[in-house]
């Protein structure tokens, strides 16, 4: 009897496993709403490794997708972090998704093909793939390789420029703006320093750093002062404790503002900023209220804007004309920029001198923003292959 029970159990378990595995296999084929009609457009989105809850890059894109769903009534599908990225794209394309946003940073399978297969863009010519942050869709002569791939880029260099300009402006006027009992900002020449912490050494990170350095240089030159620029590009994207300690060394070297582009390492830096009563700058989403009063601003990358715009284009039938192109979202597009500064404004002293100064700074930033928009100020854009000539940074010292 006992033996047979065991056998029965083994059988049940085996059945369960088989069902479980076969379910996983077809999970991405399921459409999100069962009652889909043939006329509905199907749009899918594949998250990057950070996952759907990253309070930034992925989450904003999903927000844009949900907006499409409610306003335009399209069928949508979000695929969260996946280990088989090419397989996911294939499954989605097979299931009839005409527009697929890929927030992943790896484009090899899509553009070049992996495992001896043809590139996915070639295998599925009727599906439009949208990639972000880089333009891998290039032949050697710089023309588009595939007509069904769209590259979306955010001019975060311009937003970072504004963040840099704001850092210097705020730092120079710190005594007017902030209550000295709540902040312990380093004053004088020693406090003319900023920090930058990047997750990895790549053009995708440098684009932030270069813009930031140029913004600092621009204002520093105007005011005739010199700034020290501490930086590291090896913080990774998860070790928030070490990130916090690194920021701690920058703060104690005199830096009053540290800008972090390194995933959740930034959270550690924000916590450190609050601990030492200085300022930090966040990235991707509006995270100003994570440590209210100690995050100066956030450099935004509103992925929902292109997601919504391209989805609308698909429905209107104008998507084909965008195929193979690179879409740059500049400051004016509201897809990138810095926050409205309302969170930090609450920490500004309430006396008239401080408020007047704060308004002056905000106007200055708005003015800079329009100057960048009109092309009067040119900011280096590392993500399209531009390199920064360090010699142009006359008022920024990079420690050697």
């Amino acid at each position: 009897m006992k033996k047979s029970t065991k056998k029965l159990m083994a059988l049940v378990l085996a059945c369960l496993l088989t069902v479980a595995f076969s379910m996983t296999g077809c999970s991405s084929k399921d459409t999100s709403s069962g009652s889909s009609t043939a006329s509905k457009e199907k749009i899918a989105l594949v998250c990057s490794a950070a996952g759907a809850n990253d309070n930034g890059y992925n989450q904003a894109a999903i927000k844009g997708l949900n907006q499409l769903k409610t306003e335009k009534g399209v069928d949508t599908k979000v695929v969260e972090t996946t280990t088989d990225y090419p397989g996911t794209l294939k499954t989605l394309a097979d299931a009839g998704y005409k527009l697929i946003y890929s927030l992943e940073y790896d484009f090899t399978a899509l553009i070049d093909g992996v495992g001896g297969e043809k590139p996915l863009a070639e295998q599925y010519p009727d599906t439009t793939f949208v990639v972000f942050n880089a333009n891998p869709n290039l032949k050697e002569d710089n023309t588009a390789k595939f007509k069904n791939v769209i590259s979306v880029m955010f001019n975060v260099n311009e937003a970072s420029f504004l963040a840099g300009a704001l850092s210097v402006k705020v730092n120079e006027n710190a005594s007017v703006l902030f209550d000295s009992s709540k902040y312990s900002l380093t004053t004088g020449d020693a406090g003319r320093a900023v920090g930058f912490i990047g997750g990895t050494q790549s053009s995708g990170i440098e684009v932030f750093s270069y813009g930031y350095a140029e913004g600092i240089n621009y204002v520093a030159k105007e005011l005739g002062v010199n700034y020290t620029y501490y930086s590291t590009y090896n913080a990774g994207f998860s070790d928030s404790a070490t990130g916090g300690t690194t920021a701690g060394t920058y703060y104690s070297e005199g830096a009053n503002v540290v800008y972090t582009v390194a995933g959740s390492v930034g959270d550690g830096v924000d916590a450190k900023a609050k601990e030492v009563k200085k300022l930090s700058i966040e990235v991707d989403a509006n995270k100003d209220s994570a440590q209210p009063g100690y995050i100066l601003t956030s450099v935004l990358k509103n992925t929902n804007v292109p997601v919504y715009a391209l989805g609308t284009a698909l429905i209107d039938g104008t998507l084909a004309s965008k195929g193979g192109t690179v879409i740059n979202y500049s400051l004016g597009s509201e897809a990138t920029g810095i926050t409205d500064l309302s969170t930090i404004a609450a920490a500004i002293k309430s006396d008239s001198a401080a408020q007047a100064k704060w308004t002056e700074i905000k106007n200055y930033i708005t003015d800079l923003s329009s100057k960048i928009g009109s092309g009067t100020i040119k900011v280096t854009n590392a993500q399209i292959g531009e390199t920064l000539d360090i010699a142009t940074l006359s008022n920024v010292k990079l420690p050697k």
Partner: protein
Amino acid sequence: MDYQRLLYDAISCGAPIILCVLGGNFAHKANVLNIALEGMLLMGAFTSVLFTMLTKNILLGILICILINLIWGIVFSVMCVTKKGNPIIAGLAVNMLATAICAFLLKVLGMANLNVNSIVNVAGLKIQIPVINQIPFIGGIISGHPLMTYVSFIAIFVMWVIMYKTKFGVYVRVVGENEDAAVSVGINVNRIRYIAVLIGAVCSALAGINLSLEKMALFTNDMSAGIGFIAIAAIFCGSGRPGLTSIYAIIFGLAQSLAINLSISAGAYSGLFNTIPYFMIVFILAVVSIIKMKNNRVRGFKNE
């Protein structure tokens, strides 16, 4: 370079490693390789912040965190002590489960990280020791750490006493060196091993609390960043002796602190310094085993 800050950071970075090392020593001596330290540390970091957030009380958060880690310790013990499973596999399971549970719960909560800065004031948790903080240079290094950092240093002595001056310590070492002999004199081997693993679980919980709750009031995914594994390296370097392993733990803390502090003046090359801790692990392990090999004698003759 600011040497005071360098040494302060070394103590700060070293504290969680020391705690993990001290906890892992007993399991090492009892001949159970506890590679689950990393997962337990992460779990400690996660649950301490999570329950502080839910209960709005730091002490309660810490208490629940320790209890949960004890459960983890029991799970690990059941797998590899009672059921005699391979501790490497069991440890790996605990490590992967811990990472997955944290990520999953964060997702269920719909949060990118756990932030308790409204409940916990990080700057306020730092203890300024009177008199000592007046000493020039030294004061700035020793004073101003959170509670668990001091606990870790006090624990070095406490663990040494337990290991070498109590009956329990003798039992642990006997169980590790010769299980059959231990059984023959009536020692409950499994119970000793359970306790050894559980000490490790509690210490890892304290290390996790130090890492997340005390230093940042924040938990982010995968924030343990290999500290548990570095601790295992330190345990092997110091062959499970509380004093010696702690010294290695401090050396690894110093290496991390060096990497951070050197990066300020190194610019683009700062990435190289991040390899210092790992390079030192390899180097120290190599040197230690060469020395051990040299002194390894079989029946009075050199074993070559």
